[in-house]
Amino acid sequence: MTVSSDIPEAESWFHRNQQRIAPWLFLAPGILFFAVYVIAPVFQSFNLSLYEWDGLGEKTYVGMRNYEDLYWEYVDRDAFFTSLKNNVMWLFLYLLAIPAGLFIALFLNQTVRGIRLYKSLFFFPFVISQVVVGLVFTWFYDPSFGLLNTMLGWVGMGPINVLGNEHLVTYGIVAAGLWPQTAYCMILYLTGLNAVDPEQIEAGRLDGAKGWSMLWNIILPQLRPATFIAFVVTIIGALRSFDLISIMTQGGPFGSSRVLAYYMFEVALSEYGFRMGYGAAIAVVLFLIMLCFIAYFLWSMYREEKGH
C-alpha cells in the first residue's frame, strides 16, 4: 500500500480499476455457478429435446418430433393434456394460500400471552418435510380408516375416496399442499405487518376507516412487498409441485393427478421411463410457462428499482 502511494506511476491496472472490478469479483462465484448449473442446463435440455435417447445407447436426432408428439397428446386429451390441465389447476388453487396466510397473520398479529407459541404452531407445517405432509394427508383421506370419512360419517355423508377419484384427486393434493404454503405466506405477512406504519393507521382511524376499508386501503398497500414475495413463491411452488404427487398418488389413479414436472420424471427417469428426449421436451414446455412468470417478476422488480 505504502509503496503504491509513494510511486503513483507504478499503480497497477487492478488498483486503478478496483472500483469497477470489485463488484464483478464478488459476483463471479455466483455468476459462474448460475451459468453452469442453471443457464447451461436450459440449453442442454432444449438440445436434448430434439433427440430420441433411452439414456443408455446412441442418441438419434428427431428434430421437433417430441414436440409434435406432445401436441398430439394434447389433442387426444392424453397424459400431456392432463398434466397441463392439472398444472393450471395447481396455479390457481395454490394462490388461495395468499389470502389464507394473510388472514391467519392478521389474526395472530396481536399481543396476548403465549402468542409466540401459537405462531410457531401455525408455522409448523412449513417446517416439516413435504413427504410427511403427503403421508399425513394420505392417511387423512384413506377410504377405509381415514379421518375425513370418519368425520363425514358423523354428519351422515357417504364415504368418498378422494385420492382414488380422478375428478377429486388434484383438489385433494392441492389441499395438502396449501397447508404448508399457507404457513409460509403467513410468516411473510407477519413480518410485513411489523413494518406497517402505526401513524398511518392512526390517521386512517381519524378519517373513519375501520374493518374492511382499513384493511383494503391502509394495511394492504403497505403489505405490497410481502404480497409480491408471497405471490412469487406460491407461483413457483405450484409449478414445481412434485413431492406431494409422488408420495400421495404416484400420478394416479390412472394418471389423472400428474402435473408436468411429475410427467417429465415418469417418462424419462422413473422405473419404466426411458425417453430422455421426450422428458426434456416436457421440461422445456414447463420452463417456458415458468419463463412467463419469471419475466413478469423481473420486469416488476426492475420497475420498482427504477421508481426509487
Binding site: L56, D69, D76, N161, G164, F254, E266, Y272, F274
Partner: protein
C-alpha cells in the same frame, strides 16, 4: 477369440471331470451390487457371498446393497459409469435395454458348460435375447390364488378349476358380504398380474407373448374377450372397493380380516400373511382356473437374475460367482424356507418342504404346459407396460370405458414398437 473360447471350454471339460472349480486361485477384487434390500434376502445373499469368499480367500469381495426401488433407476448410472463385476436384475424384456446398449456381458459360454446347460435349462429362455444368454437366474417364484381355506369351508366352496366354478364361488362369496379378491392397484403392477392370467387363460401363452411384443392390436376381438371375462368378475363386485388407493401390502388386511376371500399374488405374499396371524389351516393355494379349455395352462413365474456388466473388471471371478450361485447346493440353501423361501433354478437342487413352495413347484413343473411368463412388466417393453397397466387400473375402476382405454393402448402401441 475363438481359440481362447475353445481352450476355456476344454479346461472346463477337464476340470469338471474332477468336480473342482476351474479357477481355484481367483485373485483381485470382486464388486457385487445387490437389490435385495429387505432384511431376510439381504442376510441370505450376504451369507452366500461369505461362503463364496471362504472358497476363494485371495479374492477381495466388496458387496453393496442398494434399496430395491432405488436400484431400478440407479442401474443405468452404475452400468455405464462405475460398473460392478456382478449385478442383480430381472429377466426377459426388463434386461433388454441394457443388453441392447451393450452393457451386459454375453455369458453364453457358461450355458455351453455341460453341468450348467442341464441344470439351468428351465430358465435359459428367460435370459436369452438374440440367441445369446445375458445372465443367470438365482431364484423364481410362482403366482397363483392364495385363499382363505376357512372362509371357503364356511361357505362350502372348493378350489375352482374352471371359469364357471370360479364365478359360482365368487357369487356365493359376494352374497356372504365379502369380496372374492383383494387387490391394491396404486402401484399398477398388481393389475398387470390379473391381466396376465386373464389373457393367458383366454387366449393362451403364445398370443399373450405376441401382444407383449406388439404384434397384435389392442382392439383385436380376442383382447376384448379377455377384458369381457375380467369384467364379469368386476361387475359382480368380485374385487374390493377403492383398490386404486392401496399398495399390495395395504390390500393384505382385507384378506386377514376376512373381508376378502382370496388374493392373486406371487408367493412373497405368504410371509406377510403368516406374520399377520393366518395359519396354514386358514391359508391355501390354488392354480388360476381354466377359462378357455382349448388353451394350455401357463403361469407367471418371475425370475430374479445375476448379470455381469460389460464394463466389469474381474469377469473371471464374476463368472465363477455365477457358477457358484447357481450350483445345486447353493440353490437349495438360499431358496429354502429360512432364506428366500422361493424356488431354486437348478434342476438338481431340492425344493423346501413348505406347502406353498411344494404346490407351486409341482404346478410349474407339471401343469404349466403352455409356457412360463415372467410378468407383464418384464415381458412387455417398459413404456408399454406402464401405459397398459395404467389402462388395466382404469378398466378395473371404470369397466364401461373399455373401448376408450383400448383405443389409447392401441395408439401407444403404434408409437412404442418400431
Amino acid at each position: 477369440m475363438l481359440s481362447k473360447m475353445k481352450t476355456t471350454a476344454a479346461a472346463v471339460a477337464v476340470t469338471s471331470a474332477f468336480a473342482v472349480p476351474a479357477s481355484a486361485e481367483l485373485t483381485g477384487d470382486l464388486t457385487i451390487f445387490l437389490d435385495t434390500s429387505n432384511p431376510a434376502p439381504r442376510a441370505t445373499m450376504e451369507a452366500m457371498i461369505a461362503r463364496f469368499g471362504e472358497k476363494h480367500p485371495d479374492l477381495a469381495i466388496e458387496t453393496t446393497v442398494i434399496d430395491r426401488e432405488a436400484y431400478k433407476t440407479q442401474i443405468r448410472n452404475f452400468l455405464t459409469a462405475n460398473a460392478p463385476d456382478v449385478a442383480t436384475w430381472y429377466a426377459a424384456n426388463r434386461m433388454r435395454p441394457y443388453v441392447e446398449a451393450g452393457l451386459f456381458e454375453d455369458v453364453s459360454d457358461l450355458y455351453a458348460e455341460p453341468e450348467i446347460a442341464e441344470a439351468l435349462g428351465s430358465t435359459k429362455g428367460a435370459l436369452t435375447i438374440d440367441d445369446k444368454q445375458w445372465g443367470v437366474a438365482y431364484t423364481y417364484y410362482q403366482w397363483g390364488v392364495y385363499y382363505r381355506k376357512d372362509i371357503f369351508a364356511e361357505l362350502g366352496l372348493s378350489e375352482p378349476t374352471t371359469w364357471e366354478e370360479e364365478k359360482a364361488n365368487c357369487t356365493k362369496i359376494v352374497a356372504s358380504g365379502r369380496a372374492c379378491y383383494t387387490i391394491g392397484t396404486k402401484y399398477l403392477w398388481t393389475a398387470g398380474g390379473w391381466f396376465d392370467y386373464m389373457n393367458m387363460r383366454t387366449n393362451g401363452f403364445d398370443f399373450h407373448m405376441d401382444l407383449a411384443a406388439g404384434n397384435v392390436s389392442w382392439e383385436d376381438d380376442r383382447v376384448k374377450q379377455t377384458f369381457m371375462n375380467w369384467k364379469e368378475l368386476i361387475d359382480m363386485g368380485g374385487f374390493i372397493a377403492d383398490h386404486q388407493t392401496y399398495s399390495w401390502q395395504e390390500a393384505l388386511p382385507f384378506m386377514v380380516k376376512g373381508e376378502a376371500a382370496a388374493y392373486l399374488m406371487g408367493n412373497f405374499a405368504v410371509a406377510p400373511l403368516r406374520e399377520a396371524g393366518l395359519t396354514d389351516d386358514q391359508l391355501d393355494f390354488y392354480q388360476f382356473p381354466t377359462i378357455n379349455p382349448d388353451v394350455a395352462l401357463s403361469e407367471d413365474a418371475p425370475t430374479d437374475t445375476f448379470h455381469i456388466p460389460a464394463n466389469a473388471k474381474n469377469k473371471e471371478a464374476a463368472r465363477e460367482f455365477l457358477r457358484f450361485a447357481t450350483s445345486a447346493e447353493e440353490q437349495t440353501i438360499i431358496n429354502n424356507g429360512k432364506n428366500l423361501g422361493q424356488l431354486p433354478v437348478n434342476a438338481a437342487s431340492s425344493v423346501d418342504d413348505d406347502k406353498f413352495l411344494q404346490q407351486g413347484f409341482k404346478m410349474l413343473s407339471t401343469n404349466s404346459t403352455g409356457g412360463v411368463a415372467q410378468f407383464w412388466d418384464r415381458d412387455a417393453p417398459a413404456e408399454m407396460a406402464k401405459v397398459s397397466m395404467e389402462g388395466f387400473q382404469e378398466f378395473m375402476v371404470k369397466p364401461g370405458e373399455l373401448d376408450k382405454i383400448l383405443a389409447k393402448l392401441e395408439r401407444a402401441r403404434g408409437r412404442i414398437y418400431k
